[in-house]
């Protein structure tokens, strides 16, 4: 649910039902990462504008404020507040969620790969250990046989 203004859509609050800190905090983090792609007309930047303003344009955030609150502990909802530098708040929130989703997808693939690699490595080590053990046992057996045969001879 969105609570915003009819005339200016660059700020709005969103109520996410059946959500809590789990999603809201992650989304708030992602909203803070929202940046305008640094595209500006260089013809407009004259030679003598090499002050700090230059950098400010390089990484300019899309979001001026992002935060969330849980109105009451017994209510199952969170309010997410988004204020932007001009883009519609709804779109910015959607982009943040999209970004978070893609990040999760990446986390999953990296994690799955790491676990399967670890398991393969473990299996290889176990097999090696087994081999070693067997070799040792055989060695022992050989020695025992040798000893036994010597016993017979001595008899």
């Amino acid at each position: 649910m969105e609570h915003g203004s009819f005339t200016n859509d660059s700020f709005a609050s969103f109520t996410l039902a059946e959500e809590d800190h789990t999603l809201a905090n992650a989304v708030r983090f992602m909203l803070n990462q929202e940046l305008v792609n640094a595209v500006f007309d260089l013809d407009l930047v004259s030679v003598y504008v090499v002050t700090n303003h230059y950098y400010l344009q390089l990484y300019s955030p899309r979001v001026t404020f992002a935060g969330y609150s849980i109105p009451h502990p017994s209510l199952e909802c969170v309010n997410v507040r988004v204020q932007t530098t001009g883009d519609p708040a709804r779109e910015v929130l959607k982009d943040a969620c999209q970004e978070l989703m893609l990040m999760n997808r990446h986390v999953r693939s990296v994690f799955d790969k790491a676990v399967s690699e670890f398991k393969v490595e473990q299996a290889r080590l176990a097999a090696e250990e087994e081999k070693k053990k067997k070799a040792e046992e055989e060695e022992l057996k050989k020695q025992r046989d040798l000893l036994a045969s010597m016993d017979i001879e001595s008899d």
Binding site: E2, L23, C97, M101, F111
Partner: protein, 393 residues
């Protein structure tokens, strides 16, 4: 800069220069964050009295003024994110791994989902036919509820309020014990549903039970045909019986999530800590080195022999550090004898935590292996995002 009223003529050359000009190429401009800010950004400093710089700098524009982009975007995230599996326990139910290059906000979301939002099967209804033990019915039912069940919850459906318990949403176990110790291995799976007969009016029709299975679970779930569903562990104590005591009951397990009740939580615990970083600020030698090694209860430091009978302290096992801060306390927390002239105390250890390096541990209760649990948790967070996007569109 131009002052007001003064008009500057911008030539083509100037424009070309401006196009190619990048302030960061200028030799006088230092690149990147100054070291002290970098330290604040990436480390928690554990000082003698309290930790400082604990929060992560989440605002992407925080370091605009020094020309540093503090944002986390998919591209740089993908480049930096790493997972190192440290250990999988012998029974495969405990997993330790390092998650590097992720913010606490997201790591914490995974942890919270693992604890509270992943579904499992747990006993929700216990029908007690006979209980002459000293364990009261309600206490017994509560103990039964906490028994973890080794059944993949993905195969089952949620039982909603108006649903009849059927073979798709309920697992039925019976327990009939007279012996001294009642263990979970005595729970017997009933693939055909409840045995207990509800009171029925006429004797001609099939007697009604507390479940309405249309067929055996052995048929509907081929994976259970040869290996019956059991509790995760056979040796969990449910009750102790005296001579003549008897327990006869039937327990119905349904699907649920940890938010509703902790019995549905698929993990005993899931937690993370930030990687400790122990740094010697200077050479710690001889007697000082020995004192330092002795002061640390986790044996983080080692002594290195430098020859000529000289010794030096080294940081050997920083991962073991629990940040007890004994090494940064005045005189390593030792009492200094009065009368002996006090040497001025110089702190020679810096304790830190790496903000984006998490040592994550998942201890599964046995229904699913921990690596599957983690992937499921990430999927759930994905679903949540998707739902928000769908709602906003």
């Amino acid at each position: 800069m131009t002052t007001k009223g003064e008009k500057r003529i911008v030539s083509e050359e100037d424009k070309i220069f401006a196009k190619n000009f990048n302030i960061m190429d200028h030799p006088d401009i230092p690149t990147g964050l100054p070291p002290h800010l970098q330290l604040q950004r990436t480390r928690v400093l554990c000082k003698n009295d309290a930790p400082i710089h604990t929060a992560s700098v989440s605002y992407s524009g925080a370091y605009n003024a020094v020309g540093v982009d503090n944002s986390v975007k998919l591209e740089n995230f993908s480049e930096n994110f790493k997972v190192d599996v440290i250990e999988i326990s012998k029974d495969g139910m405990e997993l330790t791994f390092d998650m590097i290059g992720i913010d606490a906000a997201i790591a914490n979301a995974f942890r919270r989902i693992l604890l509270a939002e992943l579904p499992t099967m747990a006993f929700e209804k216990v029908f007690i036919a006979n209980n002459t033990s000293i364990v009261q019915d309600e206490v017994l039912a509560q103990r039964m509820g906490l028994v973890p069940i080794a059944a993949d919850p993905k195969l089952f459906e949620y039982l909603s309020e108006n649903d009849q318990p059927n073979e798709k949403n309920t697992i039925v176990f019976k327990l009939h014990a007279k012996c001294a110790k009642v263990l979970t291995e005595q729970l017997i799976w009933l693939p055909n549903g409840s045995d207990l007969v509800k009171e029925s009016g006429d004797s001609n029709s099939k007697p009604k039970t507390y479940t309405s299975f249309s067929r055996s679970q052995k048929e509907s779930f081929p994976e259970f045909a040869d290996n019956p569903i059991t509790p995760s562990y056979p040796d969990i104590l449910i009750a102790k019986l005296g001579p003549g005591h008897e327990i006869e009951l039937e327990a119905h397990a349904v699907k649920g999530i940890g938010k509703t009740h902790a019995k549905w939580s698929p993990v005993a615990t899931a937690w993370y800590r930030m990687l400790p970083e122990v740094i010697l600020l200077g050479e710690v030698e001889d007697e000082d080195a020995e004192r330092l090694v002795k002061a640390c209860p986790e044996n983080v430091f080692d002594i290195e022999d430098m020859g000529n009978g000289r010794k030096r302290a080294t940081v050997a096992r920083p991962r073991e550090c629990t940040l007890c801060r004994q090494c940064v306390r005045q005189n390593y927390g030792e009492e200094v004898n009065k009368g002996v002239e006090e040497k001025e105390w110089i702190e020679n250890v810096s304790l830190r935590r790496v903000k984006n390096h998490f040592i994550f541990k998942i201890e599964s209760t046995g229904s699913l292996p921990p690596d599957v649990l983690f992937t499921e948790a990430v999927k759930i967070l994905e679903d949540k995002c998707e739902r928000v996007i769908a709602n906003l569109s």
